[in-house]
Amino acid sequence: MSGKPLLIIVPLCLAVFMTGCGSSGIEFREREETAELIPPAQDYMEELLAEHFGSPTASVAWEKLPINYHAATATVDEAGESGSVTLANIGRTLPINEGQQILWFVDGSAHSGQVAGFDEDLNALTVSPPAGADQNWAPPAPGARLTIGPGETLQQGRLLYAEHCQHCHGVTGDGNGPTAEYLEPRPRDYRLGKFKFTSTSTVRKAQRDDLARIIEEGIPGTYMPSFKLLTEEESAAIVEYVRWLAMRGETELRRIEILTLDFRAADAETQEELDEMIQEFAEAKEDDFPNDFADETEQIADSWRVAQEESSVVLPKTPRTPSSPESIAKGREIYLSATAKCVTCHGESGKGDGPQTMQVAKDASGQNYPVPGLHDDWGRLIEPRNLTTGIYRGGRRPLDLYRRIHSGIKGTPMTGFGTSLSDEQIWDLVNYVMSIPFEDRAPGEGPFVPSESAPEATVAKSE
């Protein structure tokens, strides 16, 4: 938004619309369970989240989480003349631009400067004193850890998120924006920290690249469109913001799960019990919560950190078996076998109508779901993929299908078969699955013989 016309317009609008535009109400939504807690626990949750995450418009860069909040971070390698330093260990999400703020610590006290220039090739950064700096200001010394453009990635991520994502995924990332209720399947609720289509193994979280790829390619067959034309930096900023929302959601969820055990208002039958509960809560808050919370944070942060490691990525050891009638036949066997049990959900003909879709499933608390069928971790009814349509939500490369079979689809009943099937078997299965949309032609008949009437049909239809 260019600023200049806005300056003229804003006073006018305020004059015109007396009610003003003040109450914009950009706030995170708390989980529903929070409302069931005793009042002090609710306050505690609110304070806790506000302290570590802030609000959408004033977010907190909580260093415990593995998030690239800043435009870049780097260590000063060598210091040169007049504020010029050479950087090492550069971690960059956004480009380094003139005028960005730089923060660093010397003996525990914070110092700041401004980017006066940056040479990409030499990694040479020129640091200038901030406005109003005193005489003692000095550029960072070698070894200093620089934070360049503090919080900028998260801020930009938020703006882009608000523009492109928010009306479906919601301010909180709960998949409950205004448009969400009309969509099937519903937009992802990030707050479980789970993303379906990842390159990582079964128990691991999603990598940044996985999220970026979904943003770039979209999810075919759903309302998640492809945002192909976002730049890499824009996409990276959104990814960081989404990860931040996911971690925020997880932090909230973990805490609530603990609090719900002991501090649900409905569990207190009498006033005394309630008072007792409040008393207990006050004690626990002082004694146990800080440590518990630190542990939880550690676990959450670790899980995301580990996912980012190279070892988390699933890669086949053996190359893909070329698609052939034999391989496809073998794949079909595996598809029907008791090891893979594909048929139980995807059905004999791959239409996603296996017997499991008729079974009554149980939710996390052991209750039966009201509707028979498969449910995901978000408690929604889901259908196994209809393999005859040739639409693959997680991507259509053989590698993507391999990963779906190897490590499953997170948060859904589609489990990973990486341990029970060999690479060769998975490839056969991949070949079979990829042949299902073409099954009306015999496998191996191949693509090279055009069906005789088809091209004419095109002409006829178009006229």
Partner: protein, 278 residues
């Protein structure tokens, strides 16, 4: 009655301020469309100025006549047959001319027998496609859906020759989303489909627009002069995300396109093993 002047002034300065065509027409047909546009613009501007001046004139003289003390009488007239005939026949001639003048461009753009079939076939032959196979000469199938463009390209046979695009999806086909690549400098044809509701394939720089209608396969041809990236967007209301259907059309020389397609082929058949080996 200053407003016609303001309007003219605005039109005058508009091109400088960028409030005009997004760029020069990047296709030969687009240039002809622009020429037609400018022709109509000139005719209508003349008429606009003429009629507004006439209106201003009659108002001005009328205002003077109502000045106090002015003894001039009203011109009592029920009209003039000659004038009526004149201002019926002259505009009729101009309008008819404008109408007939447009027909060529339309015919070439939309009517299949007038498509530049030969050039399209020649281009396919250059790229090694077996053009004896029956079928149209489309290079890609663009399927619009809420809210993105899914594009299907023909793949390669075992010998690495480009196959013609088949009506039905083939196992060899290659797919992209929101990213249309086609050869530049030659007429290219796509088949336009819709997977759900109505959309419209709009390349503003090339002046191409064609609705994608559910249930129809509509051939669209165009020719990008320069090898560069163009905007591709939807121009027919298709739901809440109508504005989100942002895509690009990359025109590149034939061989580069072929190369890009090969890379896409590699990417599409990736099994992730080479990466670990290297």
């Amino acid at each position: 009655m200053f407003w016609p002047l303001a309007a003219l002034y605005l039109c005058w300065i508009a091109p400088e301020r960028g409030w005009w065509f997004p760029s020069e027409a990047m296709s030969p047909l687009g240039q002809r469309i622009d020429d037609l546009f400018y022709m109509i613009l000139i005719v209508t501007t003349v008429v606009f100025i003429g009629t507004q001046i006439a209106l201003g004139y009659v108002l001005w003289t009328g205002a003077r006549r109502t000045d106090p003390g002015n003894e001039e009488t009203t011109w009592f007239s029920h009209g003039s047959h000659n004038l009526e005939v004149m201002w019926t026949i002259v505009p009729a001639g101009i309008l008819l001319y404008i109408a007939l003048y447009q027909i060529d461009v339309w015919r070439e753009f939309r009517m299949r027998p007038y498509f530049p079939q030969e050039q399209m076939t020649a281009s396919l032959t250059r790229m090694g496609v077996d053009t004896d196979v029956p079928g149209d000469r489309a290079l890609a199938e663009v399927t619009a859906r809420q809210f993105e463009w899914r594009i299907r390209y023909p793949g390669f046979d075992e010998d690495g020759n480009l196959l013609p695009l088949m009506t039905d999806p083939q196992p060899t086909d290659l797919y992209t989303v929101n990213d249309l690549h086609l050869p530049a400098g030659v007429p290219v044809m796509i088949n336009l489909l819709s997977g759900d509701v109505q959309h419209s394939f709009f390349l503003p720089e090339l002046r191409v627009k064609q609705d994608a209608v559910p249930g129809l396969v509509i051939p669209v041809w165009f020719q990008a002069e320069k090898s560069q990236t163009y905007d591709l967007l939807c121009a027919e209301l298709c739901g809440w995300g109508h504005y989100k259907m942002k895509a690009q059309f990359v025109a590149e020389p034939e061989q580069e396109w072929l190369q890009w397609l090969r890379e896409l082929h590699e990417l599409q058949n990736e099994d992730g093993v080479e990466e670990t080996d290297e």
